[in-house]
């Protein structure tokens, strides 16, 4: 069980980020929780493609006679990081507009639809 440490860390990080999103009232803390969730998913994707005693999949000055780790998963993770950046930027812009209009970032106090 000690060899599965990356997967146990992924499960704990998903649990922590779900607890932050569901239980906190401040909107900026909700955005932080979503950013932790996106980082945990990227870690899970990269840890899926690891071979025992493998090297990075690059042919420049590679040590002789070693296997390479799987390269497809790393390409998926590159795309996922950029999409996470775009989502976080748009959410923070919306939080700034809500603060300008209502004067607070507490999500219990912005339940009025029209003011």
């Amino acid at each position: 069980m000690i060899a599965n440490l990356p997967f146990i860390a992924v499960a704990l990080l998903i649990g922590i980020s779900l607890a932050i999103i569901l239980l906190k009232k401040n909107m900026i803390k909700m955005v932080m929780g979503l950013s932790i969730l996106e980082g945990a998913v990227n870690l899970f994707l990269v840890a899926l493609g690891y071979r025992e005693n493998g090297i990075a999949p690059i042919f420049t000055s590679a040590p002789e006679g070693a296997e390479m780790v799987l390269p497809t998963v790393q390409a998926l993770t590159l795309t996922n990081i950029v999409i996470g950046v775009a989502t976080t930027a748009l959410m923070l812009a919306l939080v700034m507009v809500i603060y300008k209009k209502y004067g607070t970032v507490n999500s219990n106090k912005i339940r009025r639809l029209k003011e």
């Binding site: 690059i58 042919f59 420049t60 000055s61 002789e64 812009a93």
Partner: protein
């Protein structure tokens, strides 16, 4: 709100080094780890350092207007689309690697197996790396600069009226005396 003398000069000395390092990561994308996205994010860090050391609205807005970063970002995406469409013009299919091992711009043949890397190999891949690097740099700089300026409180016509009003009392001060305008 600018920093002191040491802060401003240290920021001004470090920004070209950050640009050179980010450009090195972008250009060597097909030999070493790295590539377009990583190098573009490193170059955008240099713009963030420039933003912290000088206050943008007082010192830098006349020299580096935000329109230049928008042009750079659009040029990056257009270069990617034109390189993708060039595959249809030459032979078969979108994004076809037609410069690979052909003796043209990036067309040296590759020694197979483990080798020290050659910069001028691999066809259209360095061109696409350069386009994506420029696009990510422009996009992250535009997002940082726009969110730093914040929200506008007045509309454009009210701002023009205030600017005209604050310039007028220098003319009419001799006629009306003091205490005329707020």
């Amino acid at each position: 709100m600018t920093l002191g003398l040491i802060g401003r000069n240290a920021g001004r000395l470090l920004v070209p080094l950050i640009f050179i390092f980010g450009f090195y990561i972008v250009v060597h994308g097909h030999i070493t780890p790295g590539g377009g996205f990583q190098g573009g994010a490193v170059i955008a860090t240099g713009v963030a350092l420039l933003l912290v050391s000088y206050y943008y609205r007082d010192c830098l807005e006349r020299f580096i207007p935000i329109t230049n970063f928008k042009l750079v970002e659009s040029a990056g995406l257009m270069l990617y689309i034109c390189t993708a469409l060039a595959g249809i013009v030459v032979g078969s299919g979108l994004l076809f690697n037609w410069l690979n091992a052909s003796g043209g711009l990036f067309g040296h043949p590759v020694a197979y197996g483990v080798n020290p890397g050659d910069l001028f190999t691999a066809g259209t891949i360095p061109i696409l790396n350069f386009a994506i690097g420029i696009e990510v740099f422009g996009a992250l700089s535009v997002v940082t600069l726009i969110m730093f300026a914040g929200l506008r409180e007045k509309t454009q016509q009210e701002e023009d009226a205030e600017a005209a009003e604050s310039a007028a009392p220098l003319v009419s001060k001799r006629k009306k005396g003091k205490g005329g305008r707020k």
